[in-house]
Symmetry: C2
């Protein structure tokens, strides 16, 4: 454990020994993650939807269509943005001690609709380039496309990470027993890019995308 | 699109052409997924936490410690359980048409605390064996361990899936332009199992775990 949480609502109570409030450690998990699960309160109960995300030093951004009901409902309310990377399964001598190895971040805060044109464009680029940088090799979005995209920001203030790695923690009485224990890592890699069916001949994959093949995602 | 949703709160409004309400199709995504993101309403705003899950024909189960605050708060309230599998990134001629290929399910409903002893034990096994079957090769949980685990069930009734695969859908004017378009698949595989540091000599990996190495997770 390191540092202290910014608020009690992001303090880990269970598994507090795996809590990580250090800002750089939390941001490193956000940078390594691929999608966020965004929780929004609605009159019909909470809704959790997967979204792309990006960040700068101050803000975590998610985006969607201006017609996206959950994102519209989020604006002006407290939301929760959770990013989880599953690194493997942990197998204890008893299933009670099975677990997962993972890196996860929870960010809670007020969802602010981004209205400033410069911030809006910058946020779109951050979200777009978070997993795979394509902004510079693509056609720039036009004003109509930009207007169709709602960007929501949450301050990178109230956040915490939980990180688990390695072996199961079994009962002392089980250690010398006959059951296997260990962990099984997962590996996610990029496969070679696939041209769109409507791609004209002679257009090659941008180097930044081509070079991903075989690499860890 | 196939079938009709069980309620309006699981009807897809955006991307309705990618909606899937057919029961078998939704269940197939749940069976292929690894973790759920569970959304619970709290006085401090929604909280979204990653959890293991399992299912039978009627119920989706998640579990946690009896001291898990979010899970305790869930009981008796409407919650949302979201399972997302990211299959790859979709690159349009313009970032506005970037997307992801994915299979996702949203289940909404009342969180019921499982109190019946038989159902409780059965649910623990379903959750435990969902990603990697270890129940039969491990020591059985004892009464104390079972009592420490809270199981919450949500009916597999109000649910929908959203599935996207393949190429970007670009602007007609962009198709003959100079920009690359396509998609980049992701592949998640199991690595070889790693023995726990405290594993005595001579205990081998159960065949059901050993055989996973190199296979798609």
């Amino acid at each position: 454990m390191s540092a202290e949480p910014a608020s009690d609502r992001v303090r880990l109570r269970r598994g507090a020994n795996r809590a990580e409030y250090d800002r750089d450690a939390v941001l490193a998990v956000l940078d390594a993650g691929m999608i966020a699960h965004v929780g929004v309160t609605t009159p019909e109960g909470p809704i959790v939807l997967p979204m792309a995300y990006g960040r700068d030093d101050e803000w975590l951004y998610v985006h969607g269509s201006v017609a996206n009901a959950a994102l519209r409902a989020a604006v002006g309310t407290d939301i929760c943005i959770t990013v989880t990377i599953v690194d493997g399964m942990v197998v204890g001598r008893c299933p009670f001690h099975n677990s997962m190895n993972y890196r996860g971040v929870v960010v809670r805060g007020l969802a602010r609709k981004v209205t400033d044109a410069d911030e809006h464009l910058r946020a779109l680029r951050l979200v777009s380039d978070h997993v795979m940088p394509t902004w510079d090799s693509a056609r720039a979005p036009n004003a109509v496309e930009i207007r169709q995209t709602l960007v929501v920001a949450v301050a990178l203030t109230e956040m915490s990470a939980k990180i688990r790695a390695g072996d199961p923690i079994d009962e002392p009485d089980d250690i010398d027993g006959p059951h296997w224990a260990g962990h099984v890592p997962l590996r996610t890699t990029w496969e070679p890019p696939v041209d769109a069916g409507d791609l004209p001949d002679g257009i090659s994959v941008p180097p930044g995308i081509a070079s991903l093949a075989g690499q860890r995602a």
